[in-house]
Amino acid sequence: MKSSSRGANKHQMALSQYVFFLLLVATASVFTRRILAVRRNILLGRDIDRSDRKGERWANMARVALGQSKMVVRPVSGILHIIVYVGFIVINLEMLEIVIDGMFGTHRVFADLLGGSQGLYGLMIGAFEWLALGVLLACVVFLIRRNVLRIARFHSAEMKPWPKSDANIILVTEIVLMSAFLLMNASDGLMHEEFAFALSSSLQPLLAGFSEAGLHLIERGAWWLHIVGVMAFLIYITYSKHFHILLAFPNTWYARLEPMGQMDNMAAVKKEVDLMMDPNVDPYAAPPEGEQAEAPAAFGARDVQDLTWKQLMEAYSCTECGRCTSVCPASLSGKKLSPRKVMMDTRDRLEEVGKAIGKADKAVSKDGAACANWGGDGKSLLGDYISEEELWACTTCQACVEACPLNIEPMGIILDLRRNLIMEDSKAPDPITSMFNNVENNGAPWAFPAADRGKWADSLDSETN
């Protein structure tokens, strides 16, 4: 019966194999093109060396991305997230079988290899089913947390319709994928006893009324839904906050290893200060050949290209979870600043710039250097996306950096934008300008004469002990 029904479907098989193959190739090519575009966008950023201390980097990645050490700081969402994450990875082993079956017209190709449903294969699929149920339930809880419980961090100003639906789309997709997986197994088990697995078998009463043909249709339908869903998902995530599924790994590997409070010293400034402090240097002398080229186009960051590639990678890695914003003193006190918005703005602007560059490159030549053909659009991250008011509200407390489960540093972008504001435009609130003047003239942020610095000790002088 089984073999004959497979034999009778030979033509259909061939057609479905053909369709499957086309879909696979299409998915792979769209996905690859998108990854290359994202890579090109990330590399628009300034260069920075993050290839040192490799051992620490692997350890960091293992702990933070693989081990999700910073997720479980908040136990409820942390543990649910781990279920979805483990489920996602493990159930994808099943994808391998689906792809082989799809290409070669086989059915459960691993079953015989792995000892059938009574052997290892059965154990594995059985485990996958329980995981699938776990993922499904976790996603339901996540949906409830987002849409019913109205947890504050999912509803701040930057959570506009798109970011909100992005999260919901993914959760619903996961639920559909998992249901399809379970349904596929349930109907398959009804048709072929040897493929009855514990958990999905309990769903079989739902399918009791169907004929063999009906069951076959359901099984095939669920199979296709599952695989097409996964292909669509793969492409979708590259446009979504769910890109973190992939980027969490490089992002934590390349994360900064220095103490959180350490802010980089700008090399270009150091050079100028060295010249000013060195009495042997003639400040009016022409710089030696070739040195001038090293001066940066601008101090600090005005637009995404002025940030480092690592900061741009962070923008693509951000999950928009809002853990940063929920601990930010500026956000907590009702200021306009939200570190999550800083990351979302950076990503949005980068996508905008990337698209414009892509268009310009296509219009001129195929192999022109990125950026070369694009004259800008008169907009910038600073000003058009992130306002001065937001920037000045930051206390540089690093709470956002500490809270981020992916080691993203919103504060770094804020400070680079501030640098541009000050060093390119001399734009600062008046009291900040006075503070600068005081530091410059009196060596203190207040207008006290430097000579009075030691005065506090005067009253101690009279004491004896």
Partner: protein
């Protein structure tokens, strides 16, 4: 007691083991000067051979850097490093976590490599080494104390234990706020906020933080930063609790417990 400047000390042919980096707030702010004096008393009492820079000390440049003025920061750094290296300084104790962070993390690359400690770390070391003893009747015995982690000591540099270990000496009842250590909430002063008005919002950061501190029903809110001290003091006043709750630096509490004040 006499606090020597390094110039005075050098003139007598001696050199200090430790340089006490006072910082701008500690030098000029009336309230912070009390903390500075407490630190000096502790150093003196423990027999530490120390000196200050006096008029030769200048702002580390921290507020300028965090406000985006890298030029001014590096000018300040170059000037300070020239002075510190000129005196051959090896070891520095700071009275301010911001100075501590900059001297420890940002000066080395600019040519200023020193062993830098925050005053709470140094005090804790003196206690652990037996150079500073806290004995006799304890003024803070059984009193509730909560410690507010300064961002630039805690998150910035991962130091959460030294200040708490020092407070342990007081025989007091240490209570933690809901947000503490890694999760500690900023007082609102960092990143040059101290020197400007806050942006429009629904609350002041220091009011939020002092409320969290007051929620632990403390007798004393302990701090380790002159700016946090100002912010928390103002916050406690805002909540009308200044008659019941004191805001004190760990150095002041230790100096008091060791009968130095």
């Amino acid at each position: 007691m006499k606090v020597q400047t390094i110039a005075e000390m050098t003139a007598t042919g001696k050199s200090p083991d430790v340089l006490f980096w006072v910082g701008c707030a500690g030098s000029f702010d009336d309230r912070a000067q009390q903390i500075t004096k407490a630190i000096a008393r502790i150093l003196d009492h423990a027999g530490v051979n120390f000196a200050v820079l006096g008029g030769e000390e200048s702002c580390t440049g921290d507020p300028a850097k965090r406000a985006g003025n890298e030029f001014l920061f590096q000018m300040q750094a170059a000037q300070n490093i020239a002075v510190l290296n000129g005196y051959g300084i090896k070891r520095i104790v700071t009275g301010c976590p911001h100075c501590f962070n900059v001297l420890r993390n940002e000066y080395p690359e600019l040519g200023g490599d020193y062993q830098v400690m925050h005053h709470t770390q140094f005090i804790q070391e003196l206690i652990a080494d037996g150079r500073l003893r806290i004995e006799g009747e304890q003024p803070f015995k059984g009193k509730r104390i909560t410690f507010h982690d300064p961002c630039y000591l805690g998150r910035a540099n991962g130091e959460y234990t030294a200040p708490r270990a020092a407070l342990q000496q007081l025989d007091a009842e240490l209570v933690e706020m809901r947000r503490c250590k890694k999760k500690g909430l900023c007082c609102g002063a960092g990143g040059a906020q101290m020197f400007k008005d806050a942006e429009p919002g629904t609350a002041e950061v220091n009011h939020l933080r002092s409320k969290e501190a007051l929620d632990t029903q403390p007798k004393i809110i302990a701090t380790g930063c002159p700016f946090c001290n100002t912010m928390m003091t103002d916050g406690v006043k805002h909540h009308g609790a200044e008659s019941k709750v004191d805001v004190k630096d760990i150095a002041e509490l230790i100096a008091d417990a060791a009968n130095l004040i």
